[in-house]
């Protein structure tokens, strides 16, 4: 497969602060490539450099075969971009927004009519054409924004945290659309800080503090984590976490909702040590089992190995 995006040593500094630090990766055509990391990890800055909104401090990148340092106009006609914040015009109607972006992307005449109808169907807004965009629910706004971003059928789509603030059902529906695009050959570059959303990506790049700390398929990332993870349910989660931090054989203990995820060195000896610690602290042990690590476990473990804290 050909490369849709090729990034090499891409760096962006804001004064002394290095927002993106010598990032290198490739994205193939038709791939759903995910950028996972906390807020402030450099995901948005990277996307802005690839979409021509921000100049790199150093390094290079090619998008659809064009150089982000020199060929921005060519790039802009070949990409669709949806920013973190909802950024359509809320004082325009659904139709007027579509018409604006059609005009800006040079989609005119019969092709425009065809594409407009396609956007309306895709966003499920065929009966709301004259509604002001401000009156739509966030889920519909996002779909309309996606529609406007792809009105010109770009081969590459950049989505910067497209589902933040959207309810889980609308989020799921949004991802169905993303799969449709990828199936049709569109390369989708998506950033997120939702772990479960990251699982949907074909390939995932983990980012922290401006650096790329791992990149692989979600399954492979989880398999690569060699330290066993135990899942504990107890009566007082915060106190259990504190007590377990000092237990021999425990690398780390962290809260995951109501449960505790414990990273241990040895699966055979650790459970007894954990139970002993809990008993000494006067805490119950409702269940304790080995689990397949989640992406969050992978992320936390990788950040710890890098010796840095997660920011954001």
């Amino acid at each position: 497969m050909s490369e849709a995006v090729h990034v090499s040593e891409l760096t962006r500094k804001f004064g002394d602060f290095v927002a993106v630090d010598r990032v290198t990766f490739d994205v193939s055509q038709g791939e759903i490539f995910g950028f996972l990391g906390p807020n402030g990890a450099g995901k948005t800055t990277t996307i802005k450099m690839l979409t021509g909104l921000l100049r790199p401090t150093s390094g290079s990148a090619r998008v659809a075969g064009f150089d982000v340092n020199r060929e921005i106009p060519q790039i802009k006609t070949r990409i669709g971009y949806m920013s973190q914040l909802f950024s359509l015009y809320s004082d325009l109607t659904v139709d007027e927004n579509i018409q604006l972006f059609g005009g800006l992307y040079g989609v005119t005449g019969p092709r425009f009519v065809e594409r407009r109808d396609w956007v309306l169907r895709m966003a499920d807004l065929s009966n709301e054409r004259r509604r002001l965009t401000a009156e739509l629910s966030l889920g519909f706004k996002q779909r309309l924004a996606l529609g406007c971003a792809v009105i010109h059928e770009p081969p590459i789509l950049f989505l910067d945290e497209p589902t933040s603030g959207v309810d889980p059902i609308a989020r799921r529906a949004f991802w169905d659309l993303i799969y449709d695009f990828a199936a049709a050959g569109t390369t989708v570059f998506v950033s997120t800080h939702y772990m479960e959303e990251a699982e949907y990506c074909h390939r995932l790049a983990l980012m922290n503090r401006g650096k790329l700390i791992a990149m692989d398929r979600p399954v492979a990332l989880k398999q690569a984590l060699d330290e066993p993870i135990l899942r504990l349910e107890t009566d007082n989660t915060p106190e259990a976490v504190e007590a377990l931090q000092k237990t021999p054989g425990v690398i780390d203990a962290a809260m995951f909702g109501r449960a505790v995820h414990i990273t241990v060195t040895d699966e055979s000896t650790a459970p007894d040590a954990v139970r002993a610690t809990l008993a000494a602290a006067g805490r119950t042990c409702e269940s304790l089992e080995r689990i397949t690590p989640s992406l969050e476990d992978v992320f936390v473990s990788l950040v710890r190995r890098e010796g840095g804290a997660v920011i954001g």
Partner: protein, 371 residues
């Protein structure tokens, strides 16, 4: 440069404008309110100046001098006072602007052919009016003296200035104010309205979405400019109509020339407004900056309110940097004097320079964000 993108921008901007009540009010109500307000309420004319008289002579001579003041139309005697001290009180309170004191020996001195001084006391707090009042009073007294010299009969004086006022025959300040006001209104429309337009896009995050499309910055600037040019031209039409039909201001010149010049002015002023808006990126700050760099100079330093010729030299030089200065010369010239391009070409050239500078500034300010 693509017409389809330019049209898409303009259309969107016009729709947004039409849905924003505060912009519409600023665009149409404020100009009309200003026009009527300045046209009716504010007058720089000096007429019916209130005066007090202390007539210690009480003779036929003194009475006819007082009558000369009243007949002139410039003065109205509102108080006849008995004591000299009263002048202080009346002037101090602002009840009268001028007091005429005729001494007891006035008549005797006149009859004897001796100089017969009278005293004029003026309220100098408003220096402008005081100066004008003094000139009128001096003229009345001088004319009275001539009559007395002739023994009551008409006397031919050797040199007499026969004055005729051109361009604004009735010397009404309204006729000056209305054409000047058109320039002030345009300055408001151009900078205050546009000051909001780009800052709003930054605040709402829509600018980033625009920047990600292939739209060129010149298309953004021109696309935003066009609807406001339309509003500006509608406002000029309304202002000319209201000025001529409601306020009775004469219009001697060429309407097309006025529109052409307005267009030049608008491009420069709108460019400046867009530049401010894009440079400061917040609506509040943009409005304040627009007030200071455009509206206030248009009101105070353009020659609209205060004559540029009487300004201190430093300010006078500074006015050459103010666009409205040239436009006011143009509107007054076209309205009152009916002059054409052969007289106004320097102003036209100046406004072309401003238009080029305005557009360049507006376009360049996006350089970092939009290709």
């Amino acid at each position: 440069m693509s017409l389809s993108r330019l049209w898409a921008m303009s259309r969107k901007e016009a729709i947004q404008l039409s849905r924003d009540p505060s912009s519409l009010a600023l665009a149409f109500l404020l100009p009309m309110a200003l026009l009527l307000f300045f046209g009716y309420a504010i007058s720089f004319d000096v007429k019916d100046i209130k005066m007090a008289v202390l007539d210690q002579s009480q003779t036929q001579h003194s009475r006819s001098l007082i009558e000369a003041f009243e007949r002139s139309g410039y003065f109205r005697v509102v108080r006849h006072i008995e004591r000299y001290d009263d002048t202080d009180r009346l002037l101090g309170r602002g009840d009268v602007r001028l007091a005429l004191v005729i001494p007891p020996r006035f008549s005797q001195d006149l009859m004897a052919g001796r100089p017969a001084p009278v005293q004029l006391l003026l309220d100098g707090a408003d220096a402008n009016t005081a100066t004008i009042a003094r000139n009128y009073a001096d003229a009345i007294v001088a004319r009275y003296s001539v009559t007395v010299l002739g023994g009551g009969a008409a006397l031919t004086i050797p040199v007499e200035a026969e004055s005729r006022v051109w361009y604004n025959e009735t010397l009404e300040s309204r006729n000056m104010v209305v054409p000047g006001l058109i320039a002030v209104i345009m300055a408001i429309i151009a900078t205050m309205l546009t000051a909001l337009t780009i800052a709003r896009e930054w605040e709402r995050g829509t600018m980033e979405q625009l920047a990600a499309t292939p739209v060129h910055r010149l298309e953004v600037v021109l696309g935003k400019l066009l609807p406001y040019v339309g509003i500006g031209l509608v406002d000029v039409t309304l202002a000319v109509l209201a000025g001529v039909l409601i306020l009775g201001v004469p219009f001697h010149g060429n309407v097309l020339l006025l529109f052409g010049m307005t267009l030049l002015f608008l491009i420069g002023a709108l460019g400046l407004g867009i530049f401010i808006s894009a440079a400061v990126k917040t609506q509040v700050l943009a409005t304040q900056v627009a007030m200071i760099v455009s509206f206030l100079p248009a009101l105070l330093l353009s020659g609209f309110m205060f004559s540029i010729d009487t300004m201190p030299i430093v300010l006078r030089i500074f006015t050459y940097l103010i666009q409205s200065r040239y436009f006011i010369t143009v509107t007054r010239g076209i309205f009152l004097k009916g002059v054409g391009v052969q007289t106004l070409w320097i102003e036209g050239l100046a406004m072309i320079v401003f238009a080029i500078v305005g557009l360049t500034l507006a376009t360049r300010v996006f350089k970092k964000e939009i290709a």
